[in-house]
Amino acid sequence: MRYVVAKDSREAVALLNTGEGARLLSGGTDVLVQMKLSGVAPDMLIDIKRIDGFNTISAEDSGFRIGATVSGAKMGAHPALKTLWPGVVEAVELIGSTQVQGRATMAGNLCNGSPAADSVPAMIAAEAVARIEGPDGTRDVPIAALLKGPGKTHLAKAELISSIFLPARAARAGDAYLRFIPRTEMDIAVASAGVSLEVDENSVVTKAVVALGAVAPTVVSVPEAAAALIGTKLDAAALEACAKACTAACNPIDDKRGTAEFRTKVAGVMATRAAKIAYARAGGQQ
């Protein structure tokens, strides 16, 4: 195996293009574990952490652009980012231990392609957009459009994510992410939900995005669940309808982490609880 430090994204793309066996190394918290446990044996690891701009959080159009190699710990230490998208930052900070937080990145979490990735439901709820660099240049793609299946994304050959953009948001808006795990830390999500809401001056929800994790082959956006919240003040009926829509959208598996029945039931619980937090953050009053 070779270890190569890429100087810029063009070099990283070129190196990725040299063969099938090249993998990117950012935080390494997935790829190094896969090399240890799953027999993943890349020919080359391309370290992209020293590429200019990849490790920075920058303000842009009243939103924030998060470089591909920015760690969870770094996002958590950015007060303005936390104020704008608290749910996204919370989600990223739930990935692994404090030690993993020192390395793990939001872009890596996305590229790993796990349906249980913590940051992905929150990013979808936030309508985040990935900036992709590839042999054919640069393109911007909404996160939801990148998800393909367990371990897979719609990134083309030799493409990489250079940053993720979290957009500006309305004055009365809030987001939240919740996951269920059997312990309080150190587990992979068994069911999770990211919710982003906007409310009007009367506390009525005007816009909503609800995304669920660990209940289908990919993280899924559930427009029916969002629709159940829009036009309401998150009354009991709205929350019940939201939970029901979530349940209907679930297509999970039984595995060592939880039964399909459990995931389905808890996904709705996570979504309604996250919705309440997001609503409060948006300044909504029931």
Binding site: L37, F180, P182, R183, T184, E185, M186, D187, I188, V190, D255, K256, R257, G258, T259, E261, F262, K265, V266, V269
Partner: protein, 737 residues
């Protein structure tokens, strides 16, 4: 009679503490020598398979590979228990569980060793497997080994049934007939792993002349020496085993898994070999404890008196014969004074890793079942759970359910302390339940050797043969200081290698502070006798006229007051002129270890929408006889309680239909993490053990016994539904709601 102590009961800094907070302490994997090879083990991917052939030629041809071994490299051993141990370290003929070692490689680097493993070609013929205890015990199940079925068992159980035990007295049926309420329930508990953070590791160097050095992480280096000498067919005297600092064991390091393999590779390669298990190896091929299927029936009168009790315990202990259900059958009803009681147990083999002890082995699951039924009876009869246990509690003079009549024990004291504690009467929040359970462990004595040297500067060196797993060097130094009448920091205790002090049994059964303590006191007595004789010579009086008081010899009888007391330091200073070095030693096998009871109280909160259980408050009461170093006694109680909480809530071995382990890592084998827990309040009860000069009882194991039922009883109260299987993971609780 309450003894007064100067050193015992204080909380000095442990002697190995500095090394452990600065990273200097040497654990199993921390030692390296020049020219050593790195070893890796190839493991079976099948739960049960015939090994048709193994071709190691390509691996042997790889540059940098210095030795490859398989089961064929090990000659047979006479003792069948040692043979099982050997065949667990390296399969011969058949792989008996997922993760069973089938070959091993030693190479100049870890990378090359790993590459070589891929070049070993094993042809397997997959055989049918059985994982569940009830299925394995049923007639017609695939039998792991022929000819090892327990004597006197009928055709109603399969050949996997390798042990049957029964304990009790009276006639339970008579007892049930006299009851106002009889409850009979069936329980299941999952296999759990000891979960020590340090994987098994060793560094072996065995020459063709049979002389060997072995450094390893173990609870008993004499055990390692004897088992390895037998398996390798070398003399015990020629194999020196040094115990590294041990990064946790909890029973899981009371046998060998890798040491014979490393020695054999070293012998074959002619070089030192380092072998370290990965975490995945640890889960797949070391430990775990038994899983269980149990029926418990208890009859009770309206006022709470137990009229009869019967338990049937079926444990599976993995791929080889073993004996452990007996401890469960003996523990099940130990807390109660019963007229009619019977506890039966069956040991059963399955295609899982060979079980090894885990803290109070066999007891937690049996007591979980019994204490759950007790709780249900109390609920049904509207009785206070502590009052009911007090009404039935075993005390001095009780004929125990497993035979012996109890001497002084502290169960009543522990129950009364629990009842009086503010925790028991604190208000409960919604969705919260409070659970109570008793627990019991026997505690052991056993073989022990201690050698004590009085140095010319008045300090003391003590060598003992039991690896220090939780601070025992501190408690042993304290007991030496107490017995000699000197300050704690004048004593240094070390764990000697197998060539430097006599045989000692493994560090298990909560025996070290008790047994090494007795040997230390006796070694001190021998040294004191010698020091008194030296003083007598100097004073020119009879040795009998000298006594040892407060760390000094002083004349007694008609000589009293004639000479000023002569301190240990003063006598030691002139030892070179009065007859040479002064020392004391003791070798023995003390018994009368004194059983220990505990009572745990826990508040749990269950989220009714997710089935998540949070531990909100925990208080653990335990009779420890005499707490030598109270901080480390508290630590044992807290640590045991948390292991039990893990067992109750989330820990389990998860197998697929194919018999492969699915959660061989700390990500999905979920031991409690810091944020899962509240503070664990330990309450030390001291009812002195009449069998120990300082009143010591073992304290290490009892605390893992009560949490299973305490948490389960709390959950039952919180959700109004009783769970009959552990772990009570959220999916199971939510399904029950």
């Amino acid at each position: 009679m309450k003894q007064e102590f100067k050193v015992l009961g204080t909380r000095p800094i442990r002697p190995d503490g500095l090394d452990k907070v600065t990273g200097k302490a040497m654990f199993g994997a921390d030692k390296s020598v020049t020219g050593m090879l790195h070893a890796r083990i190839l493991r079976s991917p099948h739960a049960h398979a015939e090994i048709v052939s193994i071709d190691t030629s390509k691996a042997e041809a790889l540059a940098g590979v210095k030795a490859v071994i398989t089961g064929d490299d090990f000659a047979d051993v006479e003792n069948r228990w040692s043979r099982y141990t050997m065949q667990n370290c390296m399969a011969q003929g058949r792989a008996l569980y997922d993760g069973h070692a089938v070959a091993a490689v030693a190479a100049v680097s870890k990378t090359i060793a790993a590459e070589a493993l891929k070049l070993i070609e094993v042809e397997y013929k997959v055989l049918s497997h059985v994982m569940d205890v009830d299925e394995a015990m049923a007639p017609g199940a695939p039998v792991l080994h022929e000819g090892v079925k327990a004597r006197k068992l009928g055709d109603d159980v399969s050949g996997n049934t390798v042990g049957y035990y029964s304990f009790g007295h009276g006639d339970p049926e008579k007892g049930f007939a006299a009851a106002d309420e009889v409850i009979e329930r069936t329980f299941k508990t999952a296999a759990v792993h000891q979960g020590y953070i340090e994987p098994h590791a060793c560094l072996a160097d065995l020459g063709s002349d049979g002389k060997g050095e072995l450094w390893c992480s173990t609870q008993g280096h004499y055990m390692v020496r004897e088992v390895c000498a037998e398996i390798l067919h070398i003399d015990a005297s020629q194999l020196r085993v040094t115990a590294s600092e041990i990064g946790g064991g909890f029973g899981g390091k009371t046998t060998v898994f890798i040491e014979p393999v490393a020695l054999k590779l070293s012998q074959k390669a002619g070089k030192p070999v380092k072998l370290v298990m990965s975490r995945e190896d640890v889960f797949r091929a070391s430990g775990p404890t038994m899983s269980a299927s149990m029926d418990v029936k208890i009859g009770m009168s309206k006022d709470g008196k137990i009229t009869g009790a019967h338990a049937k315990l079926r444990y599976q202990g993995g791929a080889f014969p073993y004996q452990m259900v007996m401890m469960g059958a003996m523990s099940a009803f130990a807390a109660y004074d019963l007229e009619h009681v019977q506890a039966e147990g069956w040991d059963v083999m399955t295609n899982r890793p060979k079980m090894i002890s885990y803290r109070a082995p066999g007891a937690p699951m049996a007591v979980y079942a019994v204490e759950s039924v007790m709780d249900e009876l109390c609920q049904k009869l509207e009785l206070d759970p502590i009052d009911t246990r007090l009404l039935n509690a075993a005390k001095e003079g009780t004929k125990s359910s497993y035979g012996p009549t109890f001497k002084a024990i502290g169960l009543v004291e522990a129950l009364e302390a629990a009842k009086a504690h503010p925790h028991y009467s604190a208000p409960l929040a919604p969705n919260t339940g409070r659970g109570v359970s008793c627990g019991f462990w026997f505690n052991f004595g056993g073989q022990v050797s201690v050698s004590m040297a009085i140095n010319a500067d008045g300090t003391v060196n003590l060598i003992e043969g039991n690896p220090d797993i939780g601070g025992s060097r501190a408690s042993i130094s304290m007991m030496a200081a107490e017995a000699l009448g000197i300050e704690f920091d004048r004593v240094r205790t070390i764990v000697g290698d197998t060539a430097s002090v006599g045989f000692s049994d493994v560090t298990d059964g909560s025996r070290v502070t008790f047994a090494v303590g007795i040997a230390t006191i006796n070694a001190a007595k021998a040294a004191i006798k010698e020091m008194c004789q030296r003083a007598a010579k100097i004073w020119e009086i009879d040795a009998e006229a000298v006594e040892w008081v407060d760390g000094a010899a002083q004349p007694t009888g008609h000589n009293a007051g004639n000479f000023p007391p002569m301190s240990l330091a003063e006598i030691a200073a002139t030892s070179g002129k009065t007859g040479g070095p002064i020392a004391g030693h003791h070798e023995g096998a003390p018994d009368k270890a004194g059983v220990s009871f505990g009572v745990h109280l826990v508040d749990v909160e269950v989220d009714p929408e997710t089935g998540f259980t949070a531990i909100k408050r925990y208080t653990a009461f335990q009779d420890v006889g005499k707490a030598i170093h109270p901080a480390y006694v508290e630590g044992q109680i807290q640590g045991g309680a948390v292991q039990g909480i893990g067992w109750a809530l989330n820990e389990e071995y998860i197998y697929g239909e194919d018999g492969r382990l699915q959660n061989a890592g700390f990500l999905d084998y979920r031991i409690p993490v810091a944020s899962d827990l509240p503070m664990i309040e330990p309450v030390i009860i001291e009812v002195p053990n009449p069998g120990h000069p300082f009143g010591v009882r073992g304290c290490g194991e009892t605390a893992i016994v009560p949490p299973l039922a305490a948490v389960a009883n709390g959950v039952a109260q919180a959700i109004g539904v009783r769970m009959f299987a552990l772990p009570m993971s959220p999916p199971k609780i939510l399904k029950a709601l």
